[in-house]
Amino acid sequence: MTDAEIRALILELICDIAPELDPASARDQDDLREIFDLDSMDFANLIVAIHDRTKIAIPEADYNKLFTLAGATAYVREALASSAARTR
Protein backbone atom coordinates (compact mmCIF):
# COMPACT_ATOMS: atom_id res chain seq x y z
CA MET A 1 0.00 0.00 0.00
CA THR A 2 1.17 3.53 -0.72
CA ASP A 3 1.08 6.21 1.95
CA ALA A 4 -1.87 7.82 0.20
CA GLU A 5 -3.79 4.53 0.26
CA ILE A 6 -3.01 3.97 3.93
CA ARG A 7 -4.06 7.52 4.78
CA ALA A 8 -7.32 7.08 2.85
CA LEU A 9 -7.99 3.76 4.58
CA ILE A 10 -7.49 5.26 8.03
CA LEU A 11 -9.83 8.13 7.22
CA GLU A 12 -12.41 5.71 5.88
CA LEU A 13 -12.27 3.69 9.10
CA ILE A 14 -12.59 6.84 11.21
CA CYS A 15 -15.57 7.80 9.09
CA ASP A 16 -17.33 4.61 10.10
CA ILE A 17 -16.86 5.64 13.74
CA ALA A 18 -17.54 9.36 13.31
CA PRO A 19 -19.80 9.45 10.25
CA GLU A 20 -20.96 13.01 10.82
CA LEU A 21 -17.50 14.52 10.36
CA ASP A 22 -15.70 15.43 7.17
CA PRO A 23 -12.49 13.40 6.77
CA ALA A 24 -11.10 15.97 4.34
CA SER A 25 -10.67 18.35 7.27
CA ALA A 26 -7.97 16.17 8.84
CA ARG A 27 -4.38 17.42 8.66
CA ASP A 28 -1.39 15.15 9.11
CA GLN A 29 -0.28 16.42 12.51
CA ASP A 30 -3.71 16.78 14.11
CA ASP A 31 -4.49 14.50 17.02
CA LEU A 32 -7.21 12.30 15.53
CA ARG A 33 -8.84 11.87 18.92
CA GLU A 34 -9.29 15.61 19.20
CA ILE A 35 -10.42 16.57 15.74
CA PHE A 36 -12.77 13.59 15.42
CA ASP A 37 -13.75 13.65 19.10
CA LEU A 38 -12.84 9.98 19.60
CA ASP A 39 -13.20 8.68 23.14
CA SER A 40 -11.32 5.68 24.54
CA MET A 41 -13.82 3.21 23.09
CA ASP A 42 -13.79 4.92 19.67
CA PHE A 43 -10.01 4.81 19.53
CA ALA A 44 -9.97 1.16 20.61
CA ASN A 45 -12.47 0.45 17.83
CA LEU A 46 -10.27 2.28 15.33
CA ILE A 47 -7.35 0.03 16.29
CA VAL A 48 -9.59 -3.02 15.88
CA ALA A 49 -10.63 -1.80 12.42
CA ILE A 50 -7.06 -1.09 11.30
CA HIS A 51 -6.00 -4.53 12.52
CA ASP A 52 -8.92 -6.21 10.71
CA ARG A 53 -8.16 -4.50 7.43
CA THR A 54 -4.35 -4.70 7.40
CA LYS A 55 -3.71 -7.72 9.68
CA ILE A 56 -0.80 -5.86 11.31
CA ALA A 57 -0.16 -6.36 15.01
CA ILE A 58 -0.65 -3.19 17.04
CA PRO A 59 0.47 -3.75 20.64
CA GLU A 60 -1.28 -1.54 23.16
CA ALA A 61 2.05 0.08 24.03
CA ASP A 62 2.18 1.47 20.48
CA TYR A 63 -1.24 3.12 20.54
CA ASN A 64 0.28 6.54 21.13
CA LYS A 65 2.16 6.26 17.83
CA LEU A 66 -1.18 6.26 16.03
CA PHE A 67 -2.65 9.40 17.57
CA THR A 68 -1.93 11.54 14.47
CA LEU A 69 -2.73 10.80 10.87
CA ALA A 70 0.95 11.06 9.91
CA GLY A 71 1.94 8.80 12.82
CA ALA A 72 -0.72 6.21 12.04
CA THR A 73 0.17 6.19 8.34
CA ALA A 74 3.87 5.70 9.09
CA TYR A 75 3.10 3.01 11.66
CA VAL A 76 0.95 0.99 9.27
CA ARG A 77 3.47 1.40 6.43
CA GLU A 78 6.36 0.16 8.58
CA ALA A 79 4.36 -2.70 10.06
CA LEU A 80 3.29 -3.85 6.60
CA ALA A 81 6.90 -3.61 5.37
CA SER A 82 8.28 -5.63 8.28
CA SER A 83 5.59 -8.33 7.98
CA ALA A 84 6.31 -8.54 4.23
CA ALA A 85 10.03 -8.91 5.02
CA ARG A 86 9.29 -11.74 7.46
CA THR A 87 7.20 -13.70 5.00
CA ARG A 88 9.71 -13.27 2.20
Binding site: E20, S40, A44, V48, D52, E60
Partner: protein
Protein backbone atom coordinates in the same frame (compact mmCIF):
# COMPACT_ATOMS: atom_id res chain seq x y z
CA UNK B 1 -55.28 -11.06 26.20
CA UNK B 2 -52.37 -8.79 27.00
CA UNK B 3 -52.12 -5.08 26.41
CA UNK B 4 -48.86 -3.87 24.89
CA UNK B 5 -48.49 -0.32 26.14
CA UNK B 6 -46.41 2.76 25.46
CA UNK B 7 -43.63 2.33 28.04
CA UNK B 8 -42.16 5.05 30.25
CA UNK B 9 -38.54 5.11 29.09
CA UNK B 10 -37.15 7.77 31.35
CA UNK B 11 -37.74 9.78 34.48
CA UNK B 12 -39.84 12.40 32.76
CA UNK B 13 -41.19 10.77 29.65
CA UNK B 14 -44.87 11.60 29.16
CA UNK B 15 -45.49 10.50 25.60
CA UNK B 16 -43.83 8.82 22.66
CA UNK B 17 -44.37 8.56 18.92
CA UNK B 18 -44.85 5.17 17.33
CA UNK B 19 -42.49 5.21 14.36
CA UNK B 20 -42.37 1.60 13.26
CA UNK B 21 -44.21 -1.66 13.77
CA UNK B 22 -42.05 -4.76 13.36
CA UNK B 23 -45.02 -7.12 13.63
CA UNK B 24 -48.45 -7.34 12.06
CA UNK B 25 -51.69 -8.94 13.26
CA UNK B 26 -51.29 -12.70 13.25
CA UNK B 27 -47.57 -12.66 14.01
CA UNK B 28 -46.37 -14.82 16.88
CA UNK B 29 -44.23 -13.08 19.51
CA UNK B 30 -42.33 -14.20 22.58
CA UNK B 31 -41.00 -12.42 25.61
CA UNK B 32 -38.01 -10.25 24.73
CA UNK B 33 -38.91 -9.73 21.07
CA UNK B 34 -38.59 -6.20 19.76
CA UNK B 35 -41.95 -5.45 18.16
CA UNK B 36 -42.06 -1.68 17.78
CA UNK B 37 -39.86 1.38 17.53
CA UNK B 38 -40.84 4.43 19.53
CA UNK B 39 -39.37 7.87 19.18
CA UNK B 40 -38.66 9.59 22.45
CA UNK B 41 -36.76 12.70 23.40
CA UNK B 42 -33.72 10.45 23.63
CA UNK B 43 -34.06 9.21 20.08
CA UNK B 44 -35.55 6.04 18.63
CA UNK B 45 -35.91 3.15 21.08
CA UNK B 46 -36.75 -0.46 20.24
CA UNK B 47 -39.59 -1.65 22.43
CA UNK B 48 -39.74 -5.24 23.59
CA UNK B 49 -42.79 -7.25 24.44
CA UNK B 50 -42.89 -9.23 27.69
CA UNK B 51 -45.62 -11.65 26.78
CA UNK B 52 -46.00 -14.63 24.53
CA UNK B 53 -48.71 -15.16 21.98
CA UNK B 54 -50.12 -13.83 18.75
CA UNK B 55 -50.57 -10.19 17.86
CA UNK B 56 -54.34 -9.86 17.57
CA UNK B 57 -54.75 -6.18 17.02
CA UNK B 58 -52.61 -3.13 16.32
CA UNK B 59 -54.38 -0.11 17.76
CA UNK B 60 -52.00 2.77 17.14
CA UNK B 61 -50.79 3.53 13.63
CA UNK B 62 -47.29 4.61 12.72
CA UNK B 63 -46.76 8.34 13.16
CA UNK B 64 -49.12 8.78 16.11
CA UNK B 65 -47.92 10.34 19.36
CA UNK B 66 -49.60 8.90 22.44
CA UNK B 67 -49.22 9.24 26.23
CA UNK B 68 -47.27 6.72 28.31
CA UNK B 69 -49.56 3.79 29.20
CA UNK B 70 -51.65 3.94 26.02
CA UNK B 71 -52.42 0.47 24.67
CA UNK B 72 -50.55 0.12 21.37
CA UNK B 73 -51.43 -3.44 20.48
CA UNK B 74 -53.05 -6.53 21.90
CA UNK B 75 -51.33 -9.86 22.27
CA UNK B 76 -53.55 -12.92 22.39
CA UNK B 77 -52.05 -16.06 23.81
CA UNK B 78 -52.48 -19.02 26.09
CA UNK B 79 -50.38 -19.23 29.20
CA UNK B 80 -49.32 -15.63 29.01
CA UNK B 81 -47.25 -14.44 31.90
CA UNK B 82 -48.44 -11.27 33.57
CA UNK B 83 -46.77 -8.22 32.13
CA UNK B 84 -44.02 -6.97 34.40
CA UNK B 85 -44.30 -3.30 35.21
CA UNK B 86 -40.68 -2.70 36.02
CA UNK B 87 -38.33 -5.63 36.02
CA UNK B 88 -35.51 -4.47 38.18
CA UNK B 89 -36.92 -3.27 41.45
CA UNK B 90 -38.35 -5.41 44.21
CA UNK B 91 -40.66 -3.75 46.68
CA UNK B 92 -39.67 -4.08 50.32
CA UNK B 93 -41.30 -6.83 52.32
CA UNK B 94 -44.00 -7.16 53.45
CA UNK B 95 -45.56 -5.11 50.68
CA UNK B 96 -48.31 -7.32 49.33
CA UNK B 97 -48.03 -6.17 45.74
CA UNK B 98 -44.31 -6.84 45.60
CA UNK B 99 -43.09 -6.88 42.07
CA UNK B 100 -41.57 -10.13 41.02
CA UNK B 101 -38.06 -10.28 39.65
CA UNK B 102 -39.22 -10.16 36.15
CA UNK B 103 -38.46 -12.22 33.16
CA UNK B 104 -37.16 -9.94 30.43
CA UNK B 105 -34.09 -11.30 28.78
CA UNK B 106 -32.44 -8.40 27.05
CA UNK B 107 -29.52 -10.58 26.10
CA UNK B 108 -31.74 -12.62 23.82
CA UNK B 109 -31.37 -11.29 20.30
CA UNK B 110 -34.64 -10.01 18.93
CA UNK B 111 -36.25 -12.10 16.24
CA UNK B 112 -36.78 -9.15 14.00
CA UNK B 113 -33.67 -8.06 12.23
CA UNK B 114 -33.47 -4.41 11.27
CA UNK B 115 -31.27 -2.73 8.78
CA UNK B 116 -28.30 -0.86 10.09
CA UNK B 117 -28.26 2.77 9.12
CA UNK B 118 -25.64 5.27 10.20
CA UNK B 119 -27.04 8.34 11.99
CA UNK B 120 -25.71 10.64 9.28
CA UNK B 121 -27.39 8.55 6.61
CA UNK B 122 -30.65 8.58 8.53
CA UNK B 123 -30.54 12.35 8.98
CA UNK B 124 -29.76 12.90 5.32
CA UNK B 125 -32.55 10.56 4.28
CA UNK B 126 -34.98 12.52 6.41
CA UNK B 127 -33.72 15.80 5.00
CA UNK B 128 -34.16 14.44 1.47
CA UNK B 129 -37.51 12.81 2.31
CA UNK B 130 -35.96 9.61 1.00
CA UNK B 131 -37.55 6.30 1.89
CA UNK B 132 -34.70 4.13 3.24
CA UNK B 133 -36.52 1.04 1.99
CA UNK B 134 -35.65 2.14 -1.53
CA UNK B 135 -31.98 1.47 -0.82
CA UNK B 136 -31.53 -2.14 -1.73
CA UNK B 137 -27.96 -2.61 -0.62
CA UNK B 138 -25.85 -0.68 1.88
CA UNK B 139 -22.12 -0.52 1.30
CA UNK B 140 -21.11 -0.12 4.95
CA UNK B 141 -20.10 -2.72 7.52
CA UNK B 142 -22.45 -5.74 7.39
CA UNK B 143 -24.49 -4.07 4.68
CA UNK B 144 -25.31 -1.01 6.76
CA UNK B 145 -26.56 2.01 4.91
CA UNK B 146 -24.08 4.86 4.84
CA UNK B 147 -24.36 8.49 3.89
CA UNK B 148 -22.97 7.73 0.44
CA UNK B 149 -25.72 5.16 -0.18
CA UNK B 150 -28.35 7.72 0.68
CA UNK B 151 -26.79 10.30 -1.62
CA UNK B 152 -26.57 7.74 -4.42
CA UNK B 153 -30.17 6.65 -3.94
CA UNK B 154 -31.36 10.24 -3.75
CA UNK B 155 -29.79 11.01 -7.09
CA UNK B 156 -31.91 8.37 -8.79
CA UNK B 157 -34.97 8.06 -6.56
CA UNK B 158 -38.09 10.10 -6.91
CA UNK B 159 -39.03 12.04 -3.79
CA UNK B 160 -40.99 9.80 -1.41
CA UNK B 161 -43.56 10.98 1.13
CA UNK B 162 -41.82 12.59 4.12
CA UNK B 163 -40.60 10.14 6.73
CA UNK B 164 -41.35 10.47 10.37
CA UNK B 165 -38.14 11.71 11.87
CA UNK B 166 -36.38 8.83 13.54
CA UNK B 167 -32.97 10.26 14.26
CA UNK B 168 -32.00 11.98 17.42
CA UNK B 169 -33.10 15.56 17.86
CA UNK B 170 -30.50 17.20 20.05
CA UNK B 171 -32.76 19.94 21.36
CA UNK B 172 -35.24 17.26 22.45
CA UNK B 173 -32.43 15.30 24.07
CA UNK B 174 -31.35 18.44 25.90
CA UNK B 175 -34.89 18.96 27.17
CA UNK B 176 -35.03 15.37 28.44
CA UNK B 177 -31.73 15.77 30.28
CA UNK B 178 -32.82 19.13 31.66
CA UNK B 179 -36.11 17.72 32.94
CA UNK B 180 -34.54 14.69 34.63
CA UNK B 181 -31.64 16.62 36.14
CA UNK B 182 -33.89 19.47 37.34
CA UNK B 183 -36.12 16.95 39.04
CA UNK B 184 -33.06 15.31 40.57
CA UNK B 185 -31.70 18.57 41.95
CA UNK B 186 -35.16 19.61 43.15
CA UNK B 187 -36.08 16.38 44.89
CA UNK B 188 -32.93 14.48 45.81
CA UNK B 189 -30.81 15.69 48.73
CA UNK B 190 -27.44 14.69 47.30
CA UNK B 191 -24.32 14.12 49.34
CA UNK B 192 -20.92 13.83 47.68
CA UNK B 193 -17.77 11.86 48.48
CA UNK B 194 -14.54 11.18 46.61
CA UNK B 195 -11.56 8.90 46.95
CA UNK B 196 -8.25 8.86 45.08
CA UNK B 197 -7.25 5.34 44.05
CA UNK B 198 -3.82 4.09 43.00
CA UNK B 199 -4.23 2.11 39.79
CA UNK B 200 -0.67 0.78 39.59
CA UNK B 201 -1.71 -2.84 40.22
CA UNK B 202 -4.84 -2.65 38.07
CA UNK B 203 -3.11 -1.16 35.06
CA UNK B 204 -0.05 -3.41 35.32
CA UNK B 205 -2.36 -6.40 35.39
CA UNK B 206 -4.41 -5.04 32.50
CA UNK B 207 -1.31 -4.40 30.41
CA UNK B 208 -0.28 -8.02 30.79
CA UNK B 209 -3.84 -9.21 30.10
CA UNK B 210 -4.03 -7.20 26.87
CA UNK B 211 -0.48 -7.91 25.71
CA UNK B 212 -1.05 -11.27 24.07
CA UNK B 213 -4.57 -10.60 22.83
CA UNK B 214 -5.71 -9.26 19.45
CA UNK B 215 -7.24 -5.75 19.54
CA UNK B 216 -10.86 -6.95 19.60
CA UNK B 217 -10.26 -8.89 22.84
CA UNK B 218 -8.46 -6.12 24.70
CA UNK B 219 -10.10 -4.48 27.66
CA UNK B 220 -10.27 -0.79 28.54
CA UNK B 221 -9.55 0.41 32.10
CA UNK B 222 -13.18 1.58 32.24
CA UNK B 223 -14.25 -2.07 32.32
CA UNK B 224 -12.30 -2.61 35.54
CA UNK B 225 -14.00 0.48 36.98
CA UNK B 226 -17.41 -0.80 35.98
CA UNK B 227 -16.86 -4.24 37.49
CA UNK B 228 -15.40 -2.87 40.72
CA UNK B 229 -18.29 -0.41 41.06
CA UNK B 230 -20.79 -3.26 40.56
CA UNK B 231 -19.12 -5.72 42.94
CA UNK B 232 -18.87 -3.09 45.69
CA UNK B 233 -22.67 -2.73 45.53
CA UNK B 234 -22.97 -6.27 46.85
CA UNK B 235 -21.51 -4.90 50.07
CA UNK B 236 -23.56 -1.69 50.09
CA UNK B 237 -26.92 -2.63 48.65
CA UNK B 238 -28.61 0.56 49.84
CA UNK B 239 -26.99 2.42 46.99
CA UNK B 240 -28.59 0.07 44.45
CA UNK B 241 -32.28 0.58 43.77
CA UNK B 242 -34.95 3.24 43.46
CA UNK B 243 -36.59 5.82 45.72
CA UNK B 244 -40.26 6.12 44.87
CA UNK B 245 -43.29 7.45 46.76
CA UNK B 246 -41.32 7.97 49.92
CA UNK B 247 -39.72 4.55 50.14
CA UNK B 248 -36.46 3.01 49.02
CA UNK B 249 -36.96 -0.08 46.89
CA UNK B 250 -33.78 -2.16 46.88
CA UNK B 251 -33.09 -3.77 43.52
CA UNK B 252 -32.92 -7.54 43.21
CA UNK B 253 -30.04 -7.43 40.74
CA UNK B 254 -27.16 -5.10 39.97
CA UNK B 255 -27.88 -3.54 36.58
CA UNK B 256 -25.50 -0.65 36.11
CA UNK B 257 -26.57 2.15 33.79
CA UNK B 258 -23.45 2.97 31.80
CA UNK B 259 -23.32 6.65 30.84
CA UNK B 260 -22.59 7.08 27.13
CA UNK B 261 -21.88 10.44 25.53
CA UNK B 262 -23.52 10.66 22.14
CA UNK B 263 -21.60 12.14 19.27
CA UNK B 264 -22.64 15.72 18.76
CA UNK B 265 -24.03 16.03 22.27
CA UNK B 266 -26.38 14.34 24.68
CA UNK B 267 -26.09 11.50 27.11
CA UNK B 268 -27.83 8.21 27.72
CA UNK B 269 -27.20 5.53 30.36
CA UNK B 270 -28.60 2.14 29.34
CA UNK B 271 -28.31 -0.85 31.67
CA UNK B 272 -25.81 -3.66 31.52
CA UNK B 273 -27.81 -6.44 33.14
CA UNK B 274 -26.24 -8.31 36.05
CA UNK B 275 -23.07 -6.27 35.77
CA UNK B 276 -21.58 -7.90 38.85
CA UNK B 277 -21.92 -11.41 37.41
CA UNK B 278 -20.34 -10.74 34.02
CA UNK B 279 -16.66 -11.36 33.28
CA UNK B 280 -14.43 -8.49 32.18
CA UNK B 281 -14.45 -9.81 28.63
CA UNK B 282 -18.25 -9.95 28.65
CA UNK B 283 -18.46 -6.45 30.08
CA UNK B 284 -16.13 -5.08 27.41
CA UNK B 285 -18.31 -6.65 24.72
CA UNK B 286 -21.47 -5.34 26.37
CA UNK B 287 -20.02 -1.87 26.61
CA UNK B 288 -18.89 -1.86 22.96
CA UNK B 289 -22.31 -3.08 21.86
CA UNK B 290 -24.16 -0.48 23.94
CA UNK B 291 -22.05 2.42 22.68
CA UNK B 292 -22.63 1.36 19.10
CA UNK B 293 -26.36 0.90 19.52
CA UNK B 294 -26.78 4.08 21.57
CA UNK B 295 -25.25 6.07 18.76
CA UNK B 296 -27.21 4.29 16.05
CA UNK B 297 -30.52 4.56 17.86
CA UNK B 298 -31.02 0.84 18.47
CA UNK B 299 -31.32 0.73 22.25
CA UNK B 300 -34.08 -1.40 23.72
CA UNK B 301 -36.76 -0.28 26.10
CA UNK B 302 -35.69 -2.66 28.89
CA UNK B 303 -32.19 -1.20 28.78
CA UNK B 304 -33.57 2.23 29.61
CA UNK B 305 -35.96 1.14 32.34
CA UNK B 306 -33.81 -1.31 34.27
CA UNK B 307 -30.70 0.56 35.55
CA UNK B 308 -30.41 0.37 39.32
CA UNK B 309 -27.50 2.82 39.61
CA UNK B 310 -25.42 4.84 37.13
CA UNK B 311 -21.67 4.70 36.57
CA UNK B 312 -19.88 7.30 34.47
CA UNK B 313 -16.27 7.18 33.36
CA UNK B 314 -14.91 10.19 31.47
CA UNK B 315 -12.17 8.29 29.63
CA UNK B 316 -8.67 9.41 28.79
CA UNK B 317 -9.61 12.82 27.41
CA UNK B 318 -12.01 13.84 30.18
CA UNK B 319 -11.58 15.87 33.34
CA UNK B 320 -9.64 14.63 36.34
CA UNK B 321 -12.75 14.11 38.40
CA UNK B 322 -16.49 14.00 37.84
CA UNK B 323 -19.27 14.31 40.41
CA UNK B 324 -22.56 13.14 38.97
CA UNK B 325 -26.19 14.12 39.33
CA UNK B 326 -28.38 11.19 40.32
CA UNK B 327 -30.81 9.97 37.65
CA UNK B 328 -34.19 9.59 39.35
CA UNK B 329 -35.53 7.33 40.71
CA UNK B 330 -32.03 5.88 41.28
CA UNK B 331 -30.28 6.75 44.53
CA UNK B 332 -26.61 6.96 43.56
CA UNK B 333 -24.18 7.70 40.75
CA UNK B 334 -20.51 6.75 40.69
CA UNK B 335 -17.98 8.78 38.71
CA UNK B 336 -14.48 7.88 37.50
CA UNK B 337 -12.25 10.73 36.33
CA UNK B 338 -9.37 10.61 33.87
CA UNK B 339 -6.46 8.41 34.90
CA UNK B 340 -3.60 10.80 35.62
CA UNK B 341 -0.01 10.05 36.58
CA UNK B 342 0.83 11.92 39.79
CA UNK B 343 3.22 11.72 42.77
CA UNK B 344 1.90 9.27 45.38
CA UNK B 345 3.35 8.21 48.73
CA UNK B 346 4.19 4.51 48.80
CA UNK B 347 5.76 3.10 51.98
CA UNK B 348 7.32 6.42 52.91
CA UNK B 349 8.63 7.22 49.45
CA UNK B 350 7.13 9.36 46.72
CA UNK B 351 6.52 7.47 43.51
CA UNK B 352 4.95 8.27 40.18
CA UNK B 353 1.63 6.42 40.03
CA UNK B 354 -1.47 6.33 37.79
CA UNK B 355 -4.31 7.66 39.91
CA UNK B 356 -8.05 7.94 39.45
CA UNK B 357 -10.53 9.98 41.44
CA UNK B 358 -13.65 7.96 42.18
CA UNK B 359 -16.68 9.94 43.30
CA UNK B 360 -20.05 9.04 44.71
CA UNK B 361 -23.16 11.19 44.73
CA UNK B 362 -25.89 9.52 46.76
CA UNK B 363 -29.38 10.20 48.07
CA UNK B 364 -29.48 11.32 51.71
CA UNK B 365 -33.05 10.05 52.04
CA UNK B 366 -31.62 6.53 51.82
CA UNK B 367 -28.02 6.56 53.06
CA UNK B 368 -25.49 8.68 54.90
CA UNK B 369 -21.87 9.43 54.15
CA UNK B 370 -20.80 6.53 56.32
CA UNK B 371 -22.30 4.02 53.90
CA UNK B 372 -20.99 6.02 50.96
CA UNK B 373 -17.48 6.00 52.42
CA UNK B 374 -17.58 2.24 52.94
CA UNK B 375 -18.70 1.86 49.35
CA UNK B 376 -15.82 3.92 47.95
CA UNK B 377 -13.38 2.03 50.18
CA UNK B 378 -14.70 -1.22 48.71
CA UNK B 379 -14.23 0.07 45.15
CA UNK B 380 -10.66 1.11 46.01
CA UNK B 381 -9.93 -2.28 47.58
CA UNK B 382 -11.37 -4.22 44.62
CA UNK B 383 -9.16 -2.25 42.22
CA UNK B 384 -6.10 -3.49 44.15
CA UNK B 385 -6.99 -7.07 43.21
CA UNK B 386 -7.72 -6.82 39.49
CA UNK B 387 -7.21 -10.54 38.92
CA UNK B 388 -10.30 -11.19 41.05
CA UNK B 389 -12.53 -8.81 39.11
Amino acid sequence: MNDFKMPALGADMEAGTLVEWLVKPGDRVKSGDVIAVVETQKGAIEVEVFAEGVVSDILIPVGERVPVGTVLAQIDGAGVAPLPVEPAIVAPKPAPQALAEAPPKPTVAPQVSRRKITPAARRRAVALSLDLETIVKGTGVEGSIRLADVEAAASVARPAPPLTRRGLDLSQMRQAIAAAMSRSKREIPHYYLAETVDLHLSLTWLEAFNADRPPIERILPAVLFLKAAALALREQSKLNGAYENGVFLPAAGIHVGWAIALRGGGLIAPAIRDTDKKTLVELMAAMRDLVERARRGNLRSSELTSPTITVTSVGDRGAESVTGVIYPPQVAIVGFGRVATRPWAVEGRVESRPLVTVSLAADHRVTDGHIGGLYLAAVARLLQEPEKL
